[in-house]
Amino acid sequence: MMNLDQVIHNFMNQPNALGYRVQQAVGYRDAAARGEISQSEYQDLLEDLRRLDDINLSADELDQQIAFNECISALKYIPLP
């Protein structure tokens, strides 16, 4: 059975946005452990990761809306056969 550190390590090694976010979170934990940031600063930075994820989600959705709108606009100019 994997322990928590192994689970985090597995997430960290994923070559995608999730992996990058987990790397950031682990970086925050290390900074807190070294005493470079306080406990409340650590909590806030972790909360930032959730907010950044929300921003990415909305950006993806808006991107899809833009692409769909461009397709519809292009279709209007293509004559029917």
């Binding site: 940031i37 930075l45 950044l52 709108n69 209007k76």
Partner: protein, 140 residues
């Protein structure tokens, strides 16, 4: 103009109108590009590039305050624009990220330079994502 052509033009017009109604009804119509909203996010982006200010409390406080005010402006300005819910969600999150840093300086809390730099990095990431998609929105 032949009757066939006329029918075709009317058909296209109705199709375009139907598409427009469907897109707006289903929330699939993106908001138009807005220069003022975009410019305010660019301001935050530019300020967040320079995390060297984190070495001085006064400079860091001024930068944090400006970023929060600009993010707040962008959210208040954009939240009532038509079909702008996605942008409003993003600026609301940006506002939350910038508010925390501003609050800590405002309350007189001790703020570590590392935390300040990490916050600047997060704000930079957020504005980078928002600006990339905002710039692609259709122009009038």
């Amino acid at each position: 103009m032949t009757t066939d052509n006329r029918r075709r033009i009317i058909g296209y017009s109705l199709l375009a109108l139907l598409c427009l109604l469907l897109l707006s009804g289903c929330g699939l119509l993106p908001s138009r590009f807005d220069g003022q909203e975009h410019a305010m996010i660019v301001n935050v982006h530019v300020i967040s590039q320079d995390d060297g200010v984190c070495n001085s409390r006064d400079s860091a406080y001024l930068a944090a305050q400006t970023m929060y005010q600009d993010a707040r402006w962008a959210w208040n300005y954009g939240r009532d624009l038509p079909n702008n819910d996605k942008m409003a969600t993003m600026t609301a999150n940006l506002m939350a990220i910038t508010r925390e840093l501003d609050d800590r300086y405002k309350k007189g809390d001790s703020v570590s330079a590392t935390y300040c730099r990490l916050k600047f990095k997060n704000i930079h990431q957020a504005t980078d994502t928002i600006l990339k998609v905002s710039a692609r929105r259709p122009r009038l």
